[in-house]
Amino acid sequence: MVALADDAPAANRSESAPGANRDRLMRIAVPAAMLALTLLAWEAYVRLNGVPPYILPAPSLVAATLVKDWATLWPALLVTLQITFSALILALVGGSALAILLVQSRWVELALYPYAVILQVTPIVAIAPLILVYVPSTQGAIMICAFLVAFFPILSNMVQGLKSVDHNLLNLYDLYGASRWQQLRMLKLPAALPYFMAGLKIGGGLSLIAAVVAEFAAGSAGAGSGLAFRLLESQYRMNIPRLFAALVLLSATGVAIFAFTSLVSWLSLRRWHESALSREN
């Protein structure tokens, strides 16, 4: 049988329109120009008004401090990154595993889900002191805090994803006598992938925030550790330029994590999921 003309593929993958390159350029140029303008205005404001650096340092001073204090800030950044990523990985593994367990049986879900919710809704700053008491190493305690925060969005997204499988596809798998394991591996997990990716994006940002908050809570107990501690320390010493430098590093880390998780999400969904496709009308 020959496929007729009106039965041709609905979507066309090539997109070499002349407007595409210009669009890409604009997408980089516009925000970059805006950022440069903001920094320039900030610099001008500080210089023209003679604002003292302990109130508001100029961007140039912040950049200089970043270079000058790199020996202090870099190890701190590494510590924060290590906590953030180990917490995120733990949350991804733990959240997904618990989600798979929860959807296997209604009993398990009824028994365990409330605890997940309680852990989530209790403010992390409130539990942090307790965890700091119980866990011998401060680093470990901070990591547990970050884990607890990142864990829930991944869990709830995964549970939602595993439950939103097309019922007819489930029927189809039943019809062909698929085992539970086949159904999980070949149907439920791939179907939940977009939800997992949404959880990853939220969890990635949250684990950084939680790592910082937990370190604040740890206060002097976390002496000589992550970026948040350096931030607090700079504040005590009125070293505002260094505080800003630490802040810049934290923001940059957050942006990098967001970009990274978005990239992972796009790479894994680009072939099939609506969220990763550009709309063509």
Partner: protein, 277 residues
Amino acid sequence: MSAPAATSLPPGAARPVVSLRGVSKRFSNGTLALSSMSMDIRRGEFVSLLGPSGCGKSTALRIVAGLGQPSEGTVDWPASRIGRNGRPDADIGFVFQEPTLMPWKPVFDNAFLPLRLKGVSKAQARDTVMAALETVGLEDFARAYPRELSGGMRMRVSIARALVTEPKLLLMDEPFGALDEITRQKLNDDVLRLWHEKGLTVVFVTHSVFEAAYLSSRIAVMGARPGRVVSDMALASPAGRERDAGFRSSDAYGELCRHVSQALAGAMYAPRGAEAA
């Protein structure tokens, strides 16, 4: 209920492929979706279940497929071995109302699924899957993703997937209801051709008189509340119809549609319990 002998039953037709005896289905909310349905599907038949929505035709089809147990009655498979899961071995292909494809898998993998679930390796299955795709004209789209295909093509992938296990019985649940008229007519011809060439037995659920009249060698007209078979009509074999471009505008087809329409109207306004034999 016994259907009048159709004109061209293949040999061995005496033994039904599947046999429903007094099958009823009551849903958990108390609705009686299907009331005491008895029917024999013989080899080589193209049976349409035709009726208004709520007449239990999809329910009946799902019960035959083993998706959901009947509340009363039995479904027998006199001509099949029964597998470990209590279902006839590799004997059913099912085409849903929607294409029901996995969007994360290319066309080939979607059609390969039934074999993969049976433990056939991809290398072993390649020829079979490609042959199935070829029968629906999609051999050039094996690597495409479902979203890159039109609605009609997706439905064809679904049909290829149902055929890949070479089922004895093909169950189709309003498969073309969501398609435009032109695509639907084309796919009707495809299904007729496959039925004819492969000697399939098809049970086809539809609410279209024209579709049922065009495709079927037998039509079971069903009524609603409760769902039941009201009349069971044997028709002339539709074999070869897909190659006759004039049939759709012929008087014979018009007459057939009128006949089926009247039976359907009778079914919709028939008093309860007045099932025809």
